[in-house]
Amino acid sequence: MDVRAFESFFHRYHHEVATYALTLVKDSEEGADVVQQAFVKLWQQRQQVDLVKVGRAYLYKTVYHLSLDVIKHRDVRQRYAMAIASTGGEEQGDDIMEERLEKMHVAVQQLPEQCRRVFLLSRVDHKKYREIASELQIAEKTVENHMGNALKILRKILNPKP
């Protein structure tokens, strides 16, 4: 495999892998780093890994492990700063983003109480389902359901279908 072929491989899978990295590290800078590292690792392993057959799975696994490393090494202060950034949106300056966040804020208020609590713990505090479950003393399955429900309700509020 030459660099050109690898480049097209990259463009084919970048979007989905980058999305996955974002769900895990919840930060676009760190997400980009993780994705980059994963692709570089794959390139280095190209003699051993059949890109066509298992390249994608290799990427996902690498992204997963690299992301866990990133999260593990993040200190509390960083997490706090990130929580502020993702709620306050001050750094993200532009109007569309602010407007969306405002809309979002309003929408979140309309979620049922427990559902809202779960949603904010997950999206703002970046807590794992397991952590939320133990904090609220509910089953993890219930957390899952709340999150699914929040998605359904918010989608309706934010993007009312004609």
């Binding site: 996955y20 769900t23 570089v40 696994k61 998605l151």
Partner: protein, 283 residues
Amino acid sequence: MTAAEEQDIRIARFLAGEAGPEEAMQLADWAAENAERGAELEEAKRVFALDLAPDPARTWQQIERAIKPRPLRRMLWPFAAAAVILLVLCFGWWLNQSRPVQPSPVVYTSGPASKKIDLPDGSTAQLMAGSRLTLIGQGRYRFSGSAEFTIRHQAKDPVRIDMEQLSIKDLGTRFSVNTSADQDTICIAVQEGKVLLNASQRASLILKAGEKALYTRSARRLERYAPPTVASKQIQAVPIKATPAKRSRKDSDTIIKPIAPVPAKTTIIKPVKPDTNRIKPIH
């Protein structure tokens, strides 16, 4: 629970970062099945306020920088550096191996009076006033002045004493070296055993017990010496292969006794040439 609700739970799990690699791949597969699902996932990402995916072009630039084969010269640098280091190490090792005992020079001086010195190899030297003996290596000395040496002979590693222009190699020996006050003449007298004298590369002489030799620095001349009272012969510096004894026997006509206490030894020599007497015997 409807299928749509179950799907929302799956999407929410994925977006909340709960999905392992397998699960994430399955969801991506699901979204890739048709455009509608793709749009649905994108919408869910917005609803969950997921950060925007990084710009692929920028990411690719960074990846490319990391994976592009570097120019050959730059790739060779580490190898060149390693090779140099290896060479230096080998050279250092070789130096160590070839000279296992390489002490820093030890200098013996007599001071104003004569002094007896025990040398590390078991030999002794009685240094006369103003003499200087330097141990420069195993069995290797540099010497100036006058002294009596008693060398413990080692056939494998004969002791060598280098003087300016002249070197004395022991072949199992007690001998003395005297340098004239003007430093021009060196007299070597062997009491026991024999020594090999080397003045430059061309002139060499083997001295046996009871024999003496003179070396004149200004004339660069090495010669056997017999007291002028009896006879003496100047021996031209001869190539090391030619043994002086044989030659002198061949054209001999005089038999004299050596001056040294060793009695048995006789040397047959020609009468002395007049210019030999220029050198004042010092011993």
